[in-house]
């Protein structure tokens, strides 16, 4: 494209065209540099609903309650989580291609810390599995405790990094996990699924709004 593209006769560049071009270019750049896209966040909402909903479907009819989650629910969860991790890694790589500087280094540190938090948050449940803890405890604990820890840690770290949307999202995840703790062994899965779905949909809507808002035109 040369300098004359989009210009009016006489070499003047129409301010209305300039406003439209500025808004469009800004929106395109925001989309290109945003790693956590609205589509990914919407997918995470579906994942949360399907994964935790699957757990709830597995345990809701158990009398007496055993806490056993069916293998199909675990298989679906593994597949969706792997897709989520792969897609997230790809989007982060794409958004950060060719970008360097202090903010980019902060973002890389944040992703590393949060990856560790997710691993640690769920790894601490391994001894529970190994010890074969009581079913009522097991039914309640894995639904709420890991995400409570990850959410609170994530909110504190995101606030320290001044990632306010992520801090809000992480805090909302912790709140959903805390609420799930009151749902009983089976109900906690459902509360968490619905809660996380709502949190991710909210984050997706806010991200989409932030990307699309105009710079010049209302």
């Amino acid at each position: 494209m040369d300098d004359t593209a989009g210009t009016a006769p006489g070499g003047g560049f129409d301010p209305r065209q300039a406003a439209a071009l500025l808004d469009k270019s800004t929106r395109q750049a925001r989309r290109a540099f945003t790693p956590l896209t609205p589509l990914l966040l919407t997918f995470r909402a579906v994942v949360a609903l399907v994964v935790f909903g699957g757990c709830w479907l597995s345990v809701r009819g158990q009398h007496p309650y055993t806490g056993h989650i069916s293998s199909w629910a675990i298989a679906v969860a593994v597949v969706l989580v792997v897709i989520n991790i792969g897609w997230t890694a790809w989007l982060i790589g794409r958004a950060g291609t060719g970008v360097s500087g202090p903010a980019q280094r902060r973002w890389q540190a944040w992703t590393g810390i949060m990856a560790a938090a997710w691993i640690i948050g769920y790894a601490i449940t391994a001894p529970e599995w190994h010890a074969g803890s009581g079913h009522p405890t097991w039914g309640l604990y894995p639904a709420s405790a890991p995400l409570l820890i990850i959410g609170l840690a994530g909110a504190a770290i995101a606030a320290a990094f001044r990632y306010w949307l992520l801090a809000g999202t992480a805090l909302a995840i912790a709140a959903a996990a805390a609420a799930a703790g009151f749902g009983g062994p089976a109900g906690s899965w459902l509360i968490l699924g619905i809660g996380l779905c709502a949190v991710f949909l909210g984050a997706a809507a806010f991200t989409a709004w932030r990307q699309r808002r105009n710079t010049v035109r209302p």
Binding site: G11, D14, R16, G101, Q104
Partner: protein, 119 residues
């Protein structure tokens, strides 16, 4: 009083360059290759536009060499950010009172200003 648009930014290609770089956090740099890909410009055209912006102090370029490959990183300076903010304000002022969604084929900056004076 008519809002004045910075002539250095008020060019489609340079406006796109500045808007793209402004979407990055303050202090972050973008590689020449990525910028070129995002804007769909030829290397020659991009170099010319970047040179003009650099001469005005709106962007800075740093070159790093990794073996035989040379990498150019482009950053919007604080002066460039301030210039874009001022340009955006000027655009808003200029378009204020006008129906900004109406088609305006062929209007120049002066014609827009005159239209605003009349309204």
């Amino acid at each position: 009083m008519t809002a004045e648009l910075d002539p250095l930014i008020h060019v489609p290609t340079r406006l796109r360059i500045v808007a793209t770089l402004a979407a990055l956090p303050d202090g972050d740099a973008l590689s020449f290759t990525r910028l070129q890909d995002m804007l769909g410009l030829t290397p020659g055209n991009l170099i010319i536009q970047l040179r003009k912006l650099e001469e005005a102090g709106y962007i800075s370029r740093t070159k790093t060499r990794n073996g035989s490959a040379q990498k150019t990183m482009v950053t919007l300076t604080s002066l460039g950010r301030a210039a874009l903010r001022a340009y955006t304000r000027a655009l808003r002022d200029l378009l204020g009172g006008l129906d900004i969604d109406a088609p305006s084929p062929g209007n120049t900056v002066d014609e827009i200003s005159a239209e605003r004076m009349r309204s």
